[in-house]
Amino acid sequence: MTTGLIDTDSLLLLDVGSISTRALLFDQVRDRYRLLAAGSSRSTAGAPFNNVLEGIFSALEGIQKVTGRTVLGKDQNLIKPSTEFGTGVDTCAATISAGPPLNACIVGLLDDVSLNSARKLASTTFCNVVQTISLNDRQRPEAHIDSFLQAHPDLVIVAGGTDGGASQSVMKLLESVGLACYLMPENQRPVMLFAGNQELKEEVETSLSSLLELHFTENIRPLLDFQQNNAAQSKLAQIYTQIRSRQLSGVMELNSWVNGGLIPSPTGLGRVVRFLSRANESHKGVLGIDVGSAAVTIASAMEGELSLGVYPQFGMGESTGNILEYGNISELKSWLLHDFSEDQLREYLYTKSIHPGSLPVTEAEIDIEHALARFVMRKAVGSLLDIMPEGVGYQGDALLPWMEPLIASGSVLTKAPTLAHCALMLLDGIQPTGVTPFLLDTHHLVPGLGAAAAVNSLLAIQILDSNSLVHLGTVISPVGSARPGTPILRIKVTYENGQETNFDIKYGTIEVLPIPHGKSVRLHLQPLHNFDIGMGAPGRGGTLRQVAGGALGVIIDARGRPFQPPSDLRRRQENYRKWLWTFGVH
């Protein structure tokens, strides 16, 4: 793409995370967008700084040092646009995920209808649902008031009433919320997002606008059997940023740097995933996962239909102290390659929760960290499956539909000892099915590109196209089960020079076809024994015309789906040693 296609040149992406604040500077070099420099710092949203800008300044210092380019003025403001003297940047985009999750109260009529939709909406941003109010709970209004006051939510999400449907019941529930808000100090009252029966807008406005800040969006459940939350998601993201601006110093200034375009990191990831799925010719889904300290964010999109889940309870940082509330300790132990007692594991998780930014030094410690990553990814995938539309691609056995590609980020993945460790964690945690290219976002730039896309989508596309993401390899994961050692996939590889090689892949193994970086091959795949690789039906094969090697080559995960690691520790150690060896890690 040439320079003429875009209006602006340099782009600064800022990401204020819970542990790290990152700054990435891109500019055009020989007609292509390149990452010029990356800076990072501890995040400073919390004590003792209590201002996100300190971390940003520190990250920008790193960039200024590397590039010699001044981006901050003497007044500590961003120089924008760039000047003829080479200072400043043309475009800046920013994302945020710092600070404790928002406390949300969700209100709906019926648990499995509108309340369920409200819960799904809440899960698209950093929220902890601390209270639910519905007709089903059969509580008296004063019980709703008492629990509301105790929960002290930052946000109330209201769903309920199909369009033209129930109105009195919705207003009755809102009466309790209104009364509770009346009893709260004015500056402590939550913000309300009304996403219910659109005919009630006026009545809701009349009865509640004097009590709390109200926002309206489309009905997320306009019909009993139909849900929509695209507009509501965007509105909720805006509200999140607005609440954060009030809660965290410096966020307002940051938002002014990006002309009001600051968005939550999951929104940015969701935008990119949705965009890629629209552009996807294979009609498969696109998957993005960020295994972060504050939360695991997982986004999938099928032909533009986005499912986004943000799970603070599965975050690799502060949440680890309570992570075992969401699963059995034996689940975590089943991924370990060292023999730890339950107490040792609990101690580790507690220490990690109070020092979320600390890093594993020993082999044994990183083993726990990687087991934890697999554990939380499995949980996040399970939660995503609950919110994905029914009947998309391959379902069942807690498996995701066919995805192409998978974009992964998060320190536990990007700081893994080798790319092979990272790939193995993703294979175990995500259990991809069929043919899935793996892309690793080592700089955590995808959410920022989602934010930048709102300013200049071409610029974001150029950066996505510019090898800024590490292509780990193309993964082929046949779905099915067989006896270990049974051939389940026949592969014919045709190299660029016309040379051909055939492989039979046996069940229970991981195989890697080394393809030099930058080269591509043609693969003819023929599943055996009715295994399914997503080419139309179980047992059906086909040809992949141009498969790029990536950093690891073509990876065939023939361990079957669903995959469970061996329960015996010694066997597990042997298998993982063998699988890492397959990737060339000795």
Binding site: P48, E142, L179, K352, I354, H355, V361
Partner: protein, 350 residues
């Protein structure tokens, strides 16, 4: 790189905010001396409410019900006081079921607040109130020794310290506790016995300071009414020498044990304050540092968990046995041993 700090100081100025998350009533005045256990601010904690449906209660129509209401918002009622009525042939009335306050009265409903559960924020250390924060809190200042810890069970108290730990390690056993320790703050090293915690509750003691405790005792410790504070954390490690020295030399002194939960975002962690005359000490310790040579640092996790040493070299990026590559520093410990550790794992010891 910005560095978190960790305080273990024999004499410093300690200034702490004590506040509620929402407005309440400040119970002290500026300049007032307070003890660790004194409440400084209070507010109603999630009061219980009762909604009365006047129309239903009096068996009158909703349009008529308002004229039978005999109370107005703000009225304080005793149990049995008239709320609405009399109405109808039977002279029906509605009375207050308990002592309460009227919050809302109108149309056909009356909302009552039934209880006055108060949440009180305690001073957490003895000192002087130096600032009032609008109507939600205060700033207390004192001079003395400050020792921060890694875990607390959420309780606050103070008392005279009895030193039972003879050395930085070793388990605190139930038979070491006796009636003479009633009302005391106990300094032990390690606890691996539930009975020790229960016996301390029975005496009762006013605090238990330990280096470490088995994580299996966490849920028991959380139920105890007295503060339990772990200097190092869960596990079986002994107390760092500086902490042990400072605490063991403070036997028979009054100590405040604020075993509040750790909240890195808010910057609060469990801490012990030993008030001391502070002539010449003018400023609280720094909260922000950048790593530099000759700093005393403490490793927050294995290896060398809790050990304090001197930063002798910033090493740049280093590969660790875990395979992680990150910025690191070389630390020298008192016994001469050296270790290279990630900067992310180090707190600057001030």
């Amino acid at each position: 790189m910005l560095a978190p700090t960790f305080h273990m100081l024999p004499l410093t100025v300690i200034r702490r905010e004590r506040k509620l998350p929402y407005p309440g009533k400040i119970l002290v005045r500026k300049g007032q001396k307070v003890g660790a256990n004194d409440a400084v601010v209070e507010a109603k904690l999630s009061p219980k409410h009762l909604m009365l449906d006047i129309a239903v209660g009096l068996a009158v129509s909703r349009t008529q019900s308002e004229r039978f209401i005999r109370v107005k918002p703000g009225d304080r009622l005793a149990k049995g006081d008239l709320i609405a009525g009399p109405a109808g042939m039977g002279k029906r009335v509605m009375r207050a079921p308990l002592n309460c306050q009227v919050i809302l009265a109108g149309s056909d409903q009356v909302l009552l607040e039934l209880t006055d559960n108060l949440i009180q924020v305690k001073a957490g250390m003895s000192g002087e109130v130096v600032e009032l924060i609008s109507d939600c809190g205060v700033v207390i200042e004192t001079s003395g020794a400050l020792i921060q810890g890694n875990w607390g069970n959420g309780r606050v108290d103070f008392g005279v310290m009895t030193v039972l730990a003879k050395e930085a390690g070793g388990s605190l056993l139930p038979d070491q506790l006796d009636l003479s320790m009633r009302g005391a703050v106990i300094l032990g090293a390690h606890c691996d016995n539930e009975e020790t915690l229960n016996l301390a509750q029975e005496l009762p003691v006013r605090g238990l300071i330990l280096a470490s405790m088995l994580i299996s005792l966490r849920s028991v410790a959380e139920k105890m009414d007295y503060p339990i504070l772990l200097i190092e954390g869960f596990g079986s490690q002994g107390m760092s020498r500086p902490a042990f020295k400072l605490l063991a030399n403070s036997g028979r002194r009054e100590v405040s044990v604020n075993a509040q939960g750790w909240n890195a975002f808010k910057g609060v962690r469990p801490e012990i304050v030993i008030p001391l005359p502070g002539e010449g000490v003018v400023a609280p310790p720094r909260l922000v540092e950048r790593y530099s040579v000759n700093q005393q640092v403490r490793s927050v996790r294995a290896p060398h968990t809790g050990e304090i040493g001197r930063l002798i070299r910033l090493c740049g990026t280093v590969s660790f046995p875990s395979g992680i590559r990150t910025q690191a520093a070389e630390i020298q410990y008192e016994n001469g041993e050296k270790a290279v550790l990630p900067l992310e794992n180090l707190e600057v010891f001030i």
